[in-house]
Amino acid sequence: MQVTEKTWGKLIEVDVLIMGTGAAGMGAALRAAGLGADVLMAGKGRLESSGCLGGGNDHYMCVLNTDAPFDTRQDFIEFYLKSTLGYTPGMLGEWFDALEPCLRILEEVGTEFRKNPDGSYYRSVGFGQPGAWWLHIANGQSIKRALAKKIRKAGVSVLDHFQITRLYRDGDRFSGCVGFNVLTGEVSAIRCRTGVMALGFQAVRATNNSTHNPYNVWFSPYNTGSYFVLPFDIGAAVMNVDIYNRATLLPKGWGAPGMNGINNMGGHELNALGERFMGKYDPMMENGKRRNQVAGTVQEQVEGNGPPFYMDMRHFKPEDADYLQNVLMPADKATYGDYRQARGIDFKKAPLEVEVSELSLAGFLHTDDRLETPVRGLYAACNFNTFSGSMSGGYASGRYAAETAHEAPMGQLDEADILAEKARILGPMQVGAQGAMSYDEFEEPIRQVMDYYAKFRRNMPGMELALDKLALIETYENRVRAENLHDLMRTHEAFELLQMCRLHLLACLQRRETGRGMYHLADYPALDPKLGKALVMRKVDNEVRYGWGVLPD
């Protein structure tokens, strides 16, 4: 890596640039560094704590290729091929092949997987999957730091506190990015031979849960869509940003996960009438598809059968209830124990009140089997879901980024582009107080629009109107004033959120059916078998083009 001081900031030159320091970025860094590449990781937070893994994870999905039922490569590939997600056997093979090496890395850094008395892994079934693919983790809170230590020791360069605001291409190749340090305001440009996109597949803060605090949510609220918006802008294609939106059940009032453990250990969901209703919505009841649990709970709510809703664990063996609430849940969210205490929650004594969470936006980037996007040399690391999916996706893309970097030319960045981006980045600091608005005042109306027109129940005219209203909000961008660097960071997150919501709505307007995403369309209430394909979107000559299962020209 080489750093040159310029009048406008720092110019950094590196062979492999990994954007994002979460689980995916970490998998990529370890693989690329293991192959001897010159690697830089750049991320908004600090490597030790950033992203969804920072405060813990309690489950790792891993098909182990043993004699256990549905435990082979083929079982894994068949399960994910059935979905509409647009995976190919080649991509899924990449994911599968990385599962075991990532498991070894996690064990090497001290991750404690629960074992059976015979020494084999304790595993459970979840998410409608056919086999017991979920390993349990007892010390999830320490994983991020332990991996960070290994990465720093491996000689990977790390640029912490760096918010990436724009990507660049040079012809058909990825050439680098520009961003700023959120603590110092210094702008840097990074040019590279290849890049790994690992900015997180969830865009949060698009809608609210019952608390109306967009930071009191399930997934990391500091991700607002960079993984999609930035690559889309340089001609990469986004996929499934319509149907891959995400939601779950939360402890009422508190943005924490936990349903993995509760559902797959056998919790019963009850409505206000005391009925266990999930049988109406999924043959596997609570432990089926999460989409069905969310849609089922929303339906019950519409019918007036709740709120309240509860997850009942009183039928658990006392040791199982204690394991879930004292080991698994705090390993998943580091402050769960404190919340439990504040609330007096005890699964053995009373059901846990839950609510349907906010709806976050998500999707994938379109890639070939080697996870390369249509922008050559840019690889997608967050296309597989869950912790193991992210780490594995990073591990696989890190390999290709490192291997291709040998032959790839060093990306060129145009100084005029860097200067223009610097001016755009710092613009909100120069907005005068007169008539100015804060990032919150700009961002709240985005959620107001999405909550009202584009949540779990919607229709096409409503979404079209939502797009018009987002366009109105966008005209206020030049009024947003950042009083300091924290405000500046949030301002750029808010601008990105708006673009992410737009991508989502544009995609939803193409898909005239109900049943694959988390939402129900009143004007197209049934599943259309012809639409059992991934929706791919790409910007060509400043116009958005769509393809069903194929990359649009």
């Binding site: 908004k44 937070g45 600090r46 030790e48 704590s49 950033s50 992203g51 920072g54 405060g55 813990g56 809170q141 320490s142 730091r145 959120v182 603590l183 608390t211 109306h212 605090n213 930071y215 009191n216 949510v217 990391s220 609220p221 500091y222 009422k252 009032g253 508190w254 943005g255 924490a256 969210k333 580091a334 402050t335 404190d338 919340y339 504040a342 609330r343 924290h486 960071m489 949030r490």
Partner: protein, 70 residues
């Protein structure tokens, strides 16, 4: 939810401030302060627990705002 800092235990190392992914904490070493939640940003706490995980002296605990309890 936003963390509470124990002034008797805190050694003012600043690690919690650096590790907060929401950038909502501050510590002014010149003033020999313990960290605090920047009031304007307290709603931006994700209660991820990183500030406590980072703390070498067990000085961090959590208080939950009323809206998380109802």
């Amino acid at each position: 939810m936003p963390p509470v800092f124990d002034k008797d235990k805190c050694i003012k190392c600043g690690l919690c401030v650096l590790d907060c992914p929401g950038y909502i904490l501050a510590l002014d070493k010149d003033k020999d302060e313990i960290p605090h939640v920047i009031g304007k940003y307290k709603r931006e706490c994700w209660h991820c627990g990183n500030c406590r995980i980072s703390c070498p002296s067990g000085a961090v605990s959590y208080e939950f705002p009323l809206y998380t309890l109802v």
